[in-house]
């Protein structure tokens, strides 16, 4: 590893070091959350700065830099995704301590494990080689299993973690098997190399059986990771069982990470075969958003409802991806925009649930929300904002995300226009279950008289960030549009 490589890799290395530093601080001052959190946030800020500096070429003087003979790449897409991952981690860690401390779960380890997961996601976003891609994927999901089972003494948490772990490793194996096919048939693991070979193979000739099988395995593996229907069965249990701050993270972090993987793998490496896999993506998009929404309609547990709704949101994002594969650049921009919008509004919603569950024994059932406007008016109003954004009501981030994705689908025309209509019908159906929570918060009387709780400053700060971003991304999308525009351009195809 030369000096140049080290500089290019600096953000990733820094992220790993930050995770290690958190553990070290916890070792020196065991169980004290303040130093651990200070190191965490300072470290994440440092990583973010390094990401920006590397991305701008401030260190190397180039727009796109690679390391390790082209296995690792830093382009605008990497920068965008890395910053998103870091924000997700920072927000999650801001929401967690209140919840964890009540349950006597260690804060520092939580932060460390989460930062490890983020470093994996950062590796995915920077990979230009299939093996690096797989390494990043595993580094991202393994800490996820730990986090899902973080509440060791809770049966549901353990059950969810085991389901998540079994299906997760199963799908990783399938995915790796698919990679092996691609490697065997193209003779290279470099993403650009694979694309070049496939470009010649796909040139007007039908798919060979071997490639077809490889594609099928890869698609299945990835569909598990993003919880696309019918590969979504692990989601509700894993989400409902996990500690609430973890659920918030699981519903956005690994999802955006998996979409980063999809972009690197399908859009870049397998791009020449787009005509073959895009049919599957469109079918997945249609089933995922429809089934996710239909099942979410019947849920009485808000966490479980949001789990199913996150499946539906995967479907909307897939619509953007399919539009990209059909030749619309705006589809990729829409997907990235939606990813960012979804991350902030969904984390916000989970933060509210976590704040309510600070008191032990409070479930995430709908009844917890009854009459919330009287007990905790600020939380109720913020939750309403996040839910409206998830529904896609303007002027919120969620609306503009949907707007962008649907615009791309309409531009692509044909079956994608049908998919756009299906997407908005789904959004209308989703309004029913999101607004049901609002009904409970505003229109029902509290079942029990629970006095309001004091919430930590960190929770309020995190909520403020999520709120501002949810509104700004809806009202003034200009700046973010430029960023996702640049990121989408970086994709080789």
């Amino acid at each position: 590893m030369g000096y140049e490589d080290a500089v290019t890799l600096a953000p990733f290395i820094a992220a790993v070091l930050v995770a290690a530093a958190i553990l070290f601080v916890d070792f020196i001052a065991p169980g004290r959350k303040v130093p651990a959190l200070a190191v965490t946030f300072a470290g994440l800020a440092l990583v973010a700065i390094l990401v920006v500096l590397t991305g701008q070429g401030a260190v190397t003087g180039r727009d796109e830099v690679t390391a390790f003979q082209g296995a690792y790449v830093v382009d605008p897409l990497t920068t965008f995704l890395d910053l998103l991952f870091i924000s997700i981690a920072a927000l999650t860690i801001a929401f967690a301590p209140d919840y964890l401390e009540e349950r006597e779960l260690p804060v520092a380890e939580f932060a460390a494990v989460l930062v490890f997961a983020i470093s994996g996601a950062m590796l995915i976003s920077a990979s230009a080689d299939l093996l690096v891609l797989f390494l990043g994927l595993e580094l991202m999901v393994l800490p996820g299993y730990v986090l899902a089972g973080y509440h060791k003494s809770d049966g549901y948490s353990t059950e969810g973690a085991i389901k998540y772990f079994l299906l997760g490793s199963f799908s990783s194996a399938i995915f790796l098997f698919g990679l092996a096919f691609v490697w065997g048939l193209t003779g290279t693991t470099s993403i650009a190399g694979v694309a070049a070979v496939l470009g010649q193979v796909a040139d007007g000739r039908p798919l060979t059986p071997g490639l077809g099988l490889g594609l099928a395995f890869l698609t299945t593996g990835v569909a598990f990771k993003i919880a696309a229907v019918p590969f979504h069965y692990w989601t509700p249990d894993a989400y409902q069982g996990s500690p609430t701050p973890v659920t918030g993270y699981l519903s956005v972090g690994p999802k955006v990470g998996a979409f980063a993987l999809i972009i690197r793998l399908f859009a870049e490496a397998l791009g020449p075969l787009a005509a073959d896999w895009n049919v599957v993506v469109m079918v997945l998009a249609a089933t995922t958003m429809t089934l996710g929404n239909l099942v979410a309609l019947t849920q009485d547990n808000v966490k479980r409802m949001l789990a199913y709704s996150s499946i539906a949101h995967t479907g909307y994002m897939l619509v953007g991806f399919a539009a990209w594969a059909a030749g619309q650049q705006s589809g990729m921009e829409g997907l990235l925009y939606y990813g960012a919008a979804y991350a902030f509004m969904n984390l916000g919603a989970f933060a509210v649930i976590a704040a309510l569950q600070k008191r032990l024994g409070v479930t995430s059932n709908l009844s917890t929300f009854a009459g919330l406007i009287r007990r905790e008016p600020t939380l109720a109003i913020l939750m309403t904002l996040f839910l409206l954004s998830l529904t896609g009501i303007p002027p919120t981030a969620g609306f503009f995300g949907k707007f962008y994705v649907i615009l791309a689908a309409v531009q692509a025309g044909g079956w994608l226009a049908v998919l756009a209509v299906l997407a908005v019908l789904n959004a209308a159906a989703a309004a029913f279950y999101y607004l049901r929570v609002v009904v409970y918060m505003f229109m029902r009387d509290p079942t029990t008289e629970i006095p309001s709780l004091a919430h930590g400053r960190l929770v309020w700060a995190g909520l403020a960030v999520a709120t501002v971003l949810t509104i700004v991304l809806g009202l003034f999308p200009g700046a973010m549009l430029e960023i996702v525009g640049g990121a989408a351009k970086a994709i080789i195809s």
């Binding site: 009501i393 615009l407 309409v410 908005v424 959004a427 029913f432 049901r436 505003f442 229109m443 200009g478």
Partner: protein
């Protein structure tokens, strides 16, 4: 700074938003302060809208007081607002009904006053915004903005079945408006595609601009198949809002469950959003499709007119009766719009204003009696005339206005619609005229049962609780009554105002050519 530089339209739209913010930060226990502050901002918006009206020059083509700021330049989306005669009439109707509704809520709303007033002021932002937006994206944002506060107003301060009613209202409206969003995007993209084919440097420029798109549509920019589909999506959104048969089923529930002021705004302004949408967006953007769809819409309007009247005839509940009469009356509006005839369209617009005033007043009156008796059953109310004569007099006045008594404004609107319709679609006019008799039937019969006859045991049992109108209640009704008389005697006041809009809309649809409308003639 020149007086003309003040963005006065934006001021009307955003004054209530400022009001909502101010009210939100007032201490929740100072309910009187909250009420008066909200009323103050609503009155301020009303005054500014009147200034707008005074400075408005009717008959000038295009939009006045227009203001355009780039909002999302990447897609050519602008914050673009302006008014023509039609918008002007609707904006003043909105601001007037809003302050009246807020004043009328002073006594009935005792619970969570702050949230109520904030919702109402935000609602006003959305409503006026829809009427002045000249950019499709901006229009959609305001259109959806209306939904949230109304959802809360029905759901929090409504009657027993309020949650069912409010969810039904939201889901119906959302299905329509989301499909309209797809149509808006497709429209913008079609424009974009044609511009980029023509080699324009920034093809998104103007893709959401109503005026640009209208010109583009006038030049035959949208092909017939596209128009047919896009118009269908717009039609669904607006038809649900109007509401046209068979999309009206949310209306009786929402009206019955909503608090009085909510019903007033729902009937007075929200239903007008649909009619306004047809005239402002659906007709000029998709003129060919409008003509293709017209016969079907005329038939649906006639069904709505007849069906609404017949169902109103058998309602035992006062509020439900008024709600169904809305379906019938709004049928005249869509009929008047889709026969594409100047008098009919003028009549339709006038009918929109009248219905806002008269039905608004009727809902206020139902609210007055409900507050005292906690009942709305017609059968229990006989003899109100003897007990509360002032109330009965007001009620009678607005019932007659709703029936269409000559000299009051309701008459002129329906008469113009019928004359205009008769000129092009005589059969439709004949059917609609017969229903006017039916309307007289259900309204007068209801009034007879309520106002006259022996004083019922139910009313006797109330004893001293049944007081006559309070000064504030009279004060909320007098302006509406005065306007009903003024517009009845001088309909020219509104007709001159909207003349330019009528001509422009019909030119856009008919494109100068005489149109073969008589499908069954």
């Amino acid at each position: 700074m020149n007086v003309n530089d003040i963005p006065i339209v934006s001021l009307v739209v955003f004054l209530p938003l400022l009001g909502a913010l101010v009210v939100a930060f007032l201490p929740g226990k100072r309910t009187d302060l909250i009420r008066w502050t909200a009323l103050g901002f609503a009155l301020a918006a009303w005054v500014v809208s009147l200034i707008l009206l005074v400075g408005f020059t009717p008959g000038r083509p295009g939009f006045e007081y227009d203001q355009a700021i780039d909002w999302i330049p990447l897609f050519g989306i602008q914050y673009k607002v302006g008014v023509d005669g039609l918008s002007m009439a609707m904006v003043v109707l909105t601001t007037t009904l809003t302050w009246i509704s807020i004043l009328a809520s002073f006594r009935p709303i005792q619970n969570r006053v702050k949230e109520y007033m904030v919702s109402f002021l935000v609602l006003e932002v959305g409503m006026t915004g829809v009427f002045v937006a000249l950019d499709l994206f901006l229009f959609y944002v305001f259109w959806e903005l209306v939904l949230v506060p109304m959802y809360l107003i029905i759901g929090v301060w409504g009657g027993v079945n309020r949650i069912y009613a409010t969810i039904k209202f939201v889901l119906y409206t959302l299905v329509g408006s989301l499909l309209m969003l797809v149509a808006i995007l497709a429209t913008a993209f079609t424009y974009f595609a044609s511009q980029s084919n023509a080699g324009v440097t920034d093809p998104w420029q103007g893709a959401f601009d109503l005026e640009v798109l209208t010109r583009f549509a006038g030049g035959g920019g949208f092909d017939p198949t596209f128009q047919f589909l896009a118009f269908g999506a717009f039609f669904l959104a607006f038809a649900i809002k109007v509401p046209m048969f068979p999309f009206h089923t949310w209306l009786p529930d929402a009206h019955v469950e909503a608090p009085t002021a909510g019903s007033v705004i729902l009937a007075g302004v929200l239903l007008k959003l649909g009619g306004y949408g047809f005239i402002r967006f659906a007709l000029p953007l998709f003129p060919d499709a409008a003509q293709t769809w017209a016969p079907a819409i005329i038939v649906l309007s006639l069904i709505a007119i007849i069906y609404g009247a017949i169902v109103a005839l058998v309602q035992p509940d006062l509020k439900k009766l008024v709600a169904y009469s809305s379906v019938s009356h709004m049928g005249f509006v869509t009929l008047g719009i889709f026969v594409f005839q100047p008098q009919a369209l003028q009549g339709a617009i006038l009918q929109m204003v009248n219905h806002g005033l008269i039905t608004g007043a009727l809902f206020l009156l139902v609210g007055v009696i409900y507050e005292r008796t906690h009942d709305r059953t017609i059968a229990k109310m006989s003899g109100l005339g003897a007990r509360v004569p002032v109330y009965a007099a007001f009620f009678g006045f607005f019932v007659f206005a709703s029936v269409g008594l000559p000299g009051l404004s309701g008459f002129v609107g329906e008469f113009l619609t019928l004359i205009g319709t008769f000129a092009v679609q005589p059969w439709a006019a004949v059917v609609a005229t017969f229903v006017m008799i039916l309307a007289a039937g259900y309204l007068l019969w209801m009034f007879q049962r309520v106002a006259f006859g022996e004083v019922s045991d139910f009313l006797k049992g109330l004893g001293g609780h049944l007081t006559d109108m309070r000064p504030v209640e009279v004060f909320t009704l007098v302006p509406l009554g005065a306007l009903v008389v003024v517009f009845g005697l001088f309909p020219g006041l509104i007709l001159d105002l909207v003349d330019g809009s009528v001509t422009q809309t019909l030119n856009a649809v008919l494109q100068g050519a005489p149109v073969a409308l008589g499908l069954w003639r």
